[in-house]
Symmetry: C2
Subunit: 457 residues, 2 copies
């Protein structure tokens, strides 16, 4: 007991008690949503306050019961923040809950003798595109109204990552004297420079921030809208001729941003990972105006992987069918977009409350816009939080890591390490542990400082 | 009638009748196998001799009933060879028959909420490898005895094509002064040079035939065994130090070649396309000894496609399970390997008979070897026929194309256009039309020459 009082002074206990209060206030805010989750999480949380071991075994049991591993995230907390919460990737596991309630409707059955050939539609331009999937892509865009599909070729890819490379290959002449410059306005998607330069291609080369690009000659400008990492709606920023625009519209869906109008660009990239949440499928698609560009993209996918998994395309077709049906005949959770938009709205409210509470960070502010699909006006609620640490903290990623929250540093996005990107798409329990921990970081830090002052090893 | 006699002289008719006889002899040879197919093909063939239109509509009906389009091949013939038979690709559709008889045992069911995360096994070196699939890979190699799996890392890829690029990336230092040379003994797989050089990488560069390679410095030698296109068992041919060997063992399965012993190389590539016939899955795997090489390969797949379709991996696991079970408890068709080995043996007999009949071509000859898996001795019966046109024909691909048989010219494999590569893995009906047509080409050519002589336009 003497030891106890030695470590925890009354002042320390007061700070700890304050932290608990903040946590309880936050809990009241999201209790309703938490209960909806799986009818078990609230109990888990309560247990977590009393004993760590039981929660650990509960979490392990949950892992076993789950169809997929809980990715790189952890589901355990309430032990004073010892457990690592990994929000580095945009792993869209928050969508599992929607798909669970669709039941058999979204189940795919593939007999052993089906889809054995390399070819899906031998006579068509994209010979490895499953016609059924192509049909659902068009129906989905028509339903949501987020992209023009008329007079476009569809090219399917092993995720939009492969299509990004297919686009670079298609837009860079084989006989050019020097590699074509590839630019995007900072903060840009951290994978763009890595993918572009990983093979030291003689066809194309990463040339950094589009805003400071001033090299002569042709170039490729990537316009990611809404932007990864910061969520803002974007347009081309390079103010000179000779550029070809590539629009990465992975996040142009009504759960993340108001759908202002149907995008009508020459090259548009989409992915199921961020629209339906099926990242494990590795399926993306491009809508391409120019037939020669589309042909070269097909050629790239042929050289790179001889087409795209038919199984995943068939599953994607089924999943899009269910999404479209959910828009026409919404269930108790609403359409997929209602479900996800509602969840994103709640999560952003919680995140902003936690950030206010902590006082150590800032978040982007967005203006509301009218959404033609959801028939209401709302502010963007992006798939990533682009968090900035307040001065004097320089290394936001390192600071959060010391609090067992794994994020991606701004330096990978071409900007200052004061920023970090945080996934907003993880499972409910992880997200809630994250906001809870974030809200108390200031207090925790104080406790830690006090503890250190108190001479604890 | 005057017109009829004008076109067809008695001599012409004699030649035509001879051609029909050869065709009927061949039919007797494969009638049994043909009947097994689906109990309908023989009738199709008979119809084909009387009316083209009915066969065309039959073929279209077959297409509709089929799970997948009949790839780039056609199923119609008996109309004098007007229909195009495409054997350019190694599309392994001959395996459909095996998988049809496995029924529900090989069916995969994936609910909508399953496998949504990017991650399959977050903690493991290859974080996107489904553990269930990894387990079946090891069991399969142990069952067949064709590769050592102990002390190896498994890296999964979107087909072995992606793994080939992953290997090049892994073996080429990022800071090298010049690109690493990549060689393979001609005739080499036609895609190697195209894939290696398509992005003009600064890391590696195609350097052609390994036999004539004499550049100083480190290099990568691809050893494809049995070889694509010619089917011979191979070993390294470059006789100097500084080389790293990559073994492409896509065809090292008992249906193609006797399994002499378990391959025990540093880097070995495999694919389901040529082992089970599931090309549409786009799934390959590498067995890699060195942890650093394995790590870099994983990095490449991460950059290239952020992992590999989980759906296809789960389906591949199921399919391998059924293959292993078929070895332990063979059905009426035997194990998958019995089925395919039997089919390849029959096909090679038919092909050799047709080649003898035509007198225009030659084929590789193979010595028999003892197979530890099938417990008998047999000569290789490769997945491709490496056909050589006799003098004075220079352009074998062009010659066969003029007979509506699409093959791949030897020039793409680094050798003379007197050679062509022909897939032996197409569906039964296409293969039989092909050998029938090949056997009568000499006669057809004579007819054509006669006809031309007779003044037909």
């Amino acid at each position: 007991m003497a030891m106890f009082f030695n470590i925890f002074s009354l002042k320390n206990l007061l700070v700890l008690s304050l932290a608990l209060n903040v946590s309880l206030v936050l809990r009241v805010l999201y209790e309703k949503d938490f209960e909806v989750n799986n009818g078990r999480s609230v109990d888990n949380q309560k247990d977590a306050l009393t004993t760590t071991d039981s929660v650990l075994s509960e979490a392990r049991a949950t892992q076993r019961a789950r169809p997929s591993m809980p990715s790189s995230s952890s589901t355990v907390d309430g032990d004073g923040g010892d457990t690592i919460i990994n929000l580095d990737h945009g792993d869209p596991t928050m969508y599992e809950r929607f798909w669970q309630q669709t039941g058999d409707k979204s189940t795919i059955v593939i007999p052993g003798w089906q889809s054995m050939s390399y070819f899906s539609d031998a006579g068509s331009l994209c010979w490895f595109l499953e016609p059924e999937f192509a049909k659902e892509i068009i129906r989905l865009h028509k339903t949501v109204g987020n992209a023009v599909t008329e007079d476009r070729y569809i090219v399917v890819g092993t995720g939009s990552t492969q299509l990004y490379q297919a686009v670079l290959y298609a837009l860079s002449p084989q006989d050019a004297v020097e590699p074509r410059s590839v630019v995007s306005a900072a903060p840009y998607y951290s994978s763009y420079p890595l993918i572009t330069d990983c093979l030291k291609s003689g066809l194309y080369k990463w040339a950094g921030d589009a805003r400071s690009f001033n090299k002569e000659g042709p170039f490729i400008e990537l316009v990611t809208s809404p932007n990864n990492p910061d969520g803002y709606v974007r347009q081309s920023v390079v103010n000179k001729s000779g550029g070809i625009l590539v629009h990465d519209l992975a996040y142009y869906w009504p759960q993340y941003t108001p759908i202002a109008s149907a995008a009508n660009h020459d090259i548009m990239l989409f992915t199921v990972s961020k629209s339906t949440g099926h990242a494990g499928m590795r399926i993306g698609w491009a809508l391409v105006k120019d037939v020669e560009v589309a042909k070269k993209m097909v050629k790239f996918v042929e050289l790179n992987t001889i087409g795209v998994s038919k199984d995943s395309q068939l599953r994607a077709a089924k999943v899009l069918q269910v999404v479209i049906h959910s828009c026409q005949y919404p269930t108790s959770l609403g359409s997929l977009f209602d479900f996800a938009a509602h969840l994103m709205e709640e999560r952003w409210k919680l995140l902003r409350a936690a950030v206010r509470q902590s006082g150590l960070f800032t978040l982007p502010e967005f203006s509301p816009g009218s959404c033609s699909f959801l028939n209401r006006s709302f502010a963007p609620q992006p798939a990533f939080a682009w968090l900035k640490c307040q001065e004097p903290m320089e290394d936001c990623e390192g600071f959060l890591r010391s609090n067992n929250i794994i994020t991606r540093s701004g330096k990978h996005f071409g900007v200052s390490p004061q920023f970090v990107r945080i996934s907003m798409l993880d499972r409910d329990e992880n997200f809630h542990i994250f906001v809870e921990r974030l809200s108390t970081i200031h207090l925790r830090q104080s406790v830690q400082v006090e503890e250190t002052d108190g001479g604890v090893e």
